[in-house]
């Protein structure tokens, strides 16, 4: 079996840029569709946190406010919580790009796969809520896919996501819900900044002063990128 030679950040960026067109990818769209449908029903129901977010972000632009409010609303909905930032970022970024449902599903599938890979490969220090930290990066992968970034721009977007990945274990429910909204808005912002030429660390996950070194104890780069793009762990469950 060939071992991986690409760094983790570069491997994820190339995966995000695609193309995705084989049967395994088609299979990964099905669970993405299930998640999207659950999210769309959850989005019908405003809650306290998303109402607070909508008021606090009254002066923000419509796309960032939408991503933030919808991410928060999904973060407060038990059926949608796990993928809240990914789905919210995919919806806003796809709408900005003028894309339809097929591309929303592809963005969700890509984001969920990045989350699944990071969950397997990355061990974070105890103070961090791993799900929240990973969700921010996965949401940026979804936004980058929906924005149609090439591998270099996707790597820069993921770099911006890594350097601002947050999620303290001490957060309470309200803070955690709002953090889902913030992660979605940050993801859309990172994708657009990268599209306009903004640069970030090329090895933001595995670098000497990168996410894994600062926030974690272990990153298995081989596990992260093994069969990436050919095998979809996110489609298994």
């Amino acid at each position: 079996m060939s071992r991986v030679t690409l760094g983790a950040s570069e491997a994820l960026a190339r995966f995000v840029a695609g193309p995705h067109d084989d049967a395994a990818f088609e299979a990964a769209l099905e669970p993405a569709r299930v998640r999207l449908l659950a999210a769309l029903s959850a989005l019908e129901m405003p809650n306290d946190s998303s109402a607070l977010a909508a008021r606090a972000l009254a002066s923000y632009g419509a796309p960032l406010r939408r991503a933030f409010v919808e991410g928060t609303r999904l973060g407060a909905a038990p059926v949608a919580r796990a993928d809240a930032p990914i789905v919210a970022a995919a919806l806003t970024a796809s709408a900005l790009a003028g894309h339809g449902e097929t591309d929303v599903l592809a963005a969700i599938a890509v984001g969920r796969e990045v989350a699944a890979r990071l969950s397997r490969a990355l061990t974070l220090d105890a103070p961090w809520n791993a799900t929240a930290v990973i969700a921010g990066i996965a949401a940026t992968a979804a936004a980058a896919r929906a924005t149609g970034l090439d591998a270099e721009a996707a790597r820069n977007a993921l770099g911006l996501a890594a350097t601002q990945a947050a999620g303290l274990g001490a957060a309470d429910a309200t803070v955690a819900e709002l953090a889902c909204g913030k992660a979605a808005a940050d993801a859309v912002e990172a994708a657009l900044l990268a599209r306009y030429g903004f640069t970030a660390a090329p090895a933001s996950l595995e670098g000497r002063r990168g996410l894994a070194a600062l926030m974690g104890s272990h990153l298995d780069e081989a596990l992260l990128s093994e069969d990436l793009g050919r095998r979809w762990f996110s489609a298994a469950g």
Partner: protein, 455 residues
Amino acid sequence: MRSTSEPDAAVAGAFAAGFVELARAPLPPAVAHEAKRALASALGLAIGAAHHPGVDAIAGAARVLGGPPAAPILGRSERVDAHFAALAAGFAAHVDDFDDTHLATVIHPGAACMAVLVALAEERAASGRTALLAFALGCEAQLRAGVAISPEHYDRGWHITGTCGVIGAAVTAALLLGAGDAALARAVRLAATMPLGHRDAFGTMAKAFHPGKAAANGILAARLAAEGVDAPAAILEDPRGFAAALSTRFDPAQMFAGLGARWELAANTYKPYPCGIVAHPAIDAALALRERVELDAIAELRAHCHPLVPDLMGNPDPNDGLEARFSAIHGIAAALCDGRVGLPQYDAERVRRADVRALRAKTALVPSGDIARDAARLEARLHDGTIVEETVAHARGSLARPLTDAELFAKVELLVDPHLGGGAGRRLVDAVLAIDETALDTVTAAALPKAGAHV
């Protein structure tokens, strides 16, 4: 033992209460003056970098994502919403690595807090006095938070200007937005859930994104706090909270003990030259030597310096601006050729020209453990055999020899005038110095191109 159910007994509550108390009294005159220096410096740097490709990218994203225009991009004619104005200003003030530095923590406090002022100036129509207080207290809050987790935090690899910048920016934003005592405390607690900044970003635009996003996050925290949102009382000291996540050291008393008596902001310093700080004493010596020798007469130069100089800045013949920032020898050569060392001396074209190349080839670094970090001795051997020496005991811009007002404000003018026209830098400095008697947006207006000018 601190109770987690009593907000005021927890660290964030005590910290916020200390800043609420500070905000009730006028700033001591010396602190107010230091805050004006930091503000003028940050505004000047942001104008100097107004056309950096990173600012272009932020402006591009703002066109797609931004809300109704509410604030300027400094030094440019575009207007954006407060979020993107904060992002752009904080980014631009840090991107040239030429901003203020609090040496004990390595925090550059001015960028994020200045960016909050720029973003909210019009929305709040704040008085200059309120704005300066909000800026000074935001800087102090960043530095106090930084001291409490230093040096382990930065040493592990965090960019402290981002991680602690969020807390300072939240204090500035809350004060500017007119938050009550409880809302300011909520803003601090929420900001502690939004830290950012890995040092792996160094060498890319993401480094300067850190103070920009810190400013934007600070504003977000203050806006959420104004709606009544809060984070857990013990968010700073919780075993799964801010300090435990970001450092192996946490000395909470550093955050609130002696507030008002001891000002970390008073120890803020300013770089005279846009390159690594260890090369600064040798550059000082070169500027002095230039007054005494003809360049054509120099046969050889020996720069006696601290061993860190060749270690960190040993590149003898750089080929572009970034390489030149890590070349003490280029700094010496540029000082001798141009009589000043500012951003133009680090343009790639300037770095490659024959005159500095020739002088660099004649220059050697001579490290010695006997020379202090802020000292240097430059020795020129002339073609006729004469030796001319210049010794610098303390570099300009060091704690022992802070930049004077005249030196700092001249630096601001050199940054601003090429973008906004002759006299604009001086007008900006004058507006900042008179901030107590005017409105905040009068000051930010001095950081913009004249109406009708297309910049």
